[in-house]
Each structure stands twice: as C-alpha cells, then as structure tokens.
Amino acid sequence: MTQYGNSEVPAGRDGGVFRDAPRSHEQALSTIVGQLAPDEACELVRQWGCPDEHVHCVTRWATVGALRRRGFLVEHSPTIRIPGHTNVSRGDLGGDDWPPDVSEAFNSCFD
C-alpha cells in the first residue's frame, strides 16, 4: 500500500511528513494499492497536475498484513479516479479518536 504526502507541508501530528490520523470529520486515511513512486501517486491524487513538478512529492509503503497486525481495518474502496483507493481505519472511530499511540502504530507499519 502506498501513502502519498507533500514534504513541504507536513501533515503528521508530530510534524511528520505523512498524515497519521484522519481529519476530525473523517474516519479513515487513504492509501493506494501497490508500491507507487511519488509522481505516480501524485498524478492519481491531484486532478490538474502537480504544483511543483513533484519536487516535494513523497510516498511510503506498507503491507496490508502489517496494518492489520497493528489493528487497522484495511478496506478496498475504489473511486473512479483511483481504482486502487483503500481506506485504513479503526472501524467507526473518527479522527478525534486516534490518540498518539495509534498514530505511532500506523507510522510503524511503513518502511
């Protein structure tokens, strides 16, 4: 599974590049099936091209098994734009219910 991020705008709760908890109104983080390069993932996420020619695009990878072993629910949730789109969640627990240790567990799944 691939997670996409923008190194210029860290989204992790402790300043990490990658988002490691859902937004407060959301219940899942998105990943994409496969081991994608930064430009490949960016072109799926952004509809109208990368604003900086992928200079700040980054990806990291985890296996479904690693995520499930750490207690995450991994569900294939294809969209028209990203057929390999997958939700990683803690079931019904939303972004306000992800304490720091859950974010740490999520981050530990990635290479």
Partner: protein, 152 residues
C-alpha cells in the same frame, strides 16, 4: 434555491450547507475531493481544484444538470479531470477556499465562468488577509509555503 448555492462558512467542503448529504464520491483522498451532494431538493457538484493533499484548499460548486450524474458515473479515472475542467470553465458556480480545522472560510459566486482564474487570484489575496487576521500561527500564514498554488 438559486442555481448558485449559498455555502455555509465553517462547514466542511463536501457537506457545505446544513442538511447537505453526500450522494456520490468520484474521487477521494483522505476526504471526498470530487462528488455530488444533495441539498434542498437539488443536487450539486463539488470538486477540490487545488490543495488536494494540503490544509489549504480551493473548491468549486455548481448545480447538477439532469444528465450530469449518469455522465459522471460512466467516466473512467483518466476522463474525470477533463469533464470536471469543462464544468468549472463553462458553468456559473461558487468558488470557496477552505482551511483544515476551520472549514470553508471564503466564498465567491462566479456568474461568468471565464473569470474563474481572476477571481481565484482575488480570493487568494482575501485568504492571506484572513490568515493574518485569525492567527497566522495556526497555519503557515503563507499560501506558497503551505503548498497552495491555486488551480492549474
């Protein structure tokens, strides 16, 4: 309700009015990015047009026409950007800027779709003022530093 929906400040971009309900999501990454919601017996199209993965983002809204939903549902991923681009460039609608944790903070009705680019520039300036006024420390305070460069 007029064709140009009135968005609620502070609401999340994909449910931008009270009572809005998502009908379809055609593109998602951590949050719905392109889709359709229902509100007040009408259906509206929304699309994130900049800032898909960033805390600052720009969104476009217009009323859905009768055959739009079937057309959108029949697209494949490679066709979606062109169809969405055509809608943004040819239909009256509403542009909005949203900030993570704040929701929609600025909206602008666009009666003349040819002016979308100019209006976006003006909205970005208003957004800078907004950031300075509310508390720049909560965000970057600088749109470019925040990875926000506007629609392509």
């Amino acid at each position: 309700m007029s064709d140009l929906i009135e968005l609620g400040l502070g609401r999340v971009p994909w449910e931008p009015t009270s009572g809005a309900q998502l009908v379809d999501v055609f593109h998602r990454y951590d949050r719905p990015l392109i889709g359709v919601f229902a509100a007040d017996d009408s259906r509206f199209f929304f699309a994130c047009v900049a800032g898909e993965a960033e805390p600052l983002s720009a969104w476009w809204y217009c009323q859905l026409r009768d055959d739009d939903l079937d057309r959108l549902r029949g697209l494949d991923g490679s066709e979606l950007p062109a169809v969405v681009g055509e809608m943004v460039e040819t239909r009256p609608g509403v542009l909005a800027l949203a900030m993570e944790g704040e929701g929609i903070v600025i909206t602008q009705q666009v009666d003349n779709p040819g002016l979308v680019g100019e209006l976006f520039g003006a909205m970005s300036e208003r957004f800078q003022i907004y950031l300075r006024n509310v508390d720049a420390a909560r965000g970057s305070g600088d749109l470019v530093a925040a990875g926000f460069r506007g629609p392509r």
